[in-house]
Amino acid sequence: MTTPGDSGARETWPLWEVFIRSSRGLSHVHAGSLHAPDETMAVRNARDLYTRRAEGVSIWVVRASDITTSDPDAKGEFFESPQGKEFRHASYYSESESVPHL
């Protein structure tokens, strides 16, 4: 299953997804996509396109067609298991709510 937006064969340059770390201590976050002939130019185009206002300190690019996604048609089954397991969350434990430092 490829990523949405995979440009297929019609375009001269393939599509790349861009991830930006906005400052130290934060994760890279998806910023958008762009076209570039190869990974070297993709990271440069990403610098020009997505960090013109100092939005980033680090950039990842990945070819859109290289991304594997979970199957959207099976999202019901795929993400059902955590439903009903509220005991995984602290908010489930109401008896201890008023106890300090818990």
Binding site: P4, T12, L15, G32, S33
Partner: protein
């Protein structure tokens, strides 16, 4: 999406899930099932929006080489460059709906896809850089801010990024006009003359009156569009009047008057015949705009092909080693 699966019963389930997302004001994401009409509407709207950014570079790009100060030259370069960036963000968003940029480009060149008619007007004076920023970008922002909450996730995210960057565009335009209005009589006349030309076309950017806007209702039902054309136009006019007072320019509408009862400004009729004429290709620069875009794309073909050939050769080398 596997076509074999889309039996009527399953479509009904998918449709119900889609309806639930829209009703709860949640977001639709690229791989979700969506009605074909929703997908088509989005492709039409997002690509039209992207084309507007790209074609919109031209009337301003026209002044980069003649900007009257180095500061203005830098600002204008940054602004026109931003528009290329905004076009790219939007092409990316449209691409998640299963259309590639090359196809969208072809639709622009053949006229199958539209772009905002406003960019078919020409920019004979420097003051037009001010009017475009203040009036055209101002109207665009009014239109765009609600789109940050559009139901289609990638569109909303692109718009959020664009709106953040766009606020400088309107301010720089306003300041161009402000500087002109504080200047010599010739500069003041240049500013007023330009505002006279851009005012009505900017108001028409919100689209025809609600009664004549067939697509609006469905777009609002799908949470793509949040406010009607007329509501947005009124909101824009209400904002413009006090700004025009700060500038000291006259808005060219003798019927423009505060209506206490409505709590809004009343305004005179707009020339929708002109709007439809420009839309139909009889604007000042329709043919030139598209021809210039096509030329840049055609002239660049050998560069894009060279870079592709280089990348392919490197890939083969890597696989061979």
């Amino acid at each position: 999406m596997t076509t074999a699966k889309t039996t009527t019963a399953e479509t009904a389930v998918e449709q119900a899930e889609f309806d639930r997302l829209i009703e709860s004001d949640s977001r639709v994401e690229p791989r979700d099932w969506m009605p074909e009409a929703y997908r088509k509407t989005l492709i039409r709207q997002i690509s039209q929006h992207a084309h507007s950014e790209i074609i919109g570079m031209q009337p301003e790009g026209n002044w980069i080489t003649r900007a009257p100060s180095l500061k203005r030259k830098a600002i204008l370069m940054a602004k026109v460059q931003d528009e290329a960036g905004h076009g790219l963000y939007l092409y990316s968003a449209a691409q998640t709906l299963g259309i590639d940029r090359e196809t969208m480009f072809e639709q622009l060149i053949t006229g199958a896809a539209k772009y905002s008619s406003i960019f078919n007007y020409t920019t004979p004076t420097w003051a037009d850089m001010g009017s475009i920023g203040w009036l055209v970008d101002g109207a665009a922002i009014c239109n765009q801010v609600p789109l940050c909450r559009a139901s289609y996730g990638p569109y909303g995210r692109a718009m959020t990024r664009i709106c953040k960057e766009e606020s400088f565009h309107q301010r720089q335009g306003f300041e161009i006009l402000l500087e002109l209005m504080r200047g010599t009589p010739a500069q003041r006349a240049m500013a007023q003359e330009s505002v006279n030309r851009w005012y009505a076309p900017a108001l028409m950017m919100f689209g025809p009156p609600d009664d004549d806007s067939p697509n609006s209702k469905q777009s609002m039902a799908w949470n793509i569009k949040r406010f009607s054309n007329d509501d947005l136009r009124q909101r824009f006019i209400d904002m413009l009047v006090p700004q025009a007072e700060v500038l000291g320019v006259t808005l060219p509408d003798p019927e423009l008057k505060w209506n206490e009862a409505r709590g809004h400004y009343d305004f005179g009729p707009l020339n929708w015949d002109e709007f439809y004429e420009v839309l139909a290709g009889r604007g000042q620069a329709n043919a030139q705009r598209v021809a210039k875009r096509k030329k840049a794309h055609d002239d660049g073909a050998w560069v894009r092909e060279a870079a592709r050939a280089y990348a392919d050769a490197r890939m083969e080398e890597r696989l061979a080693s």
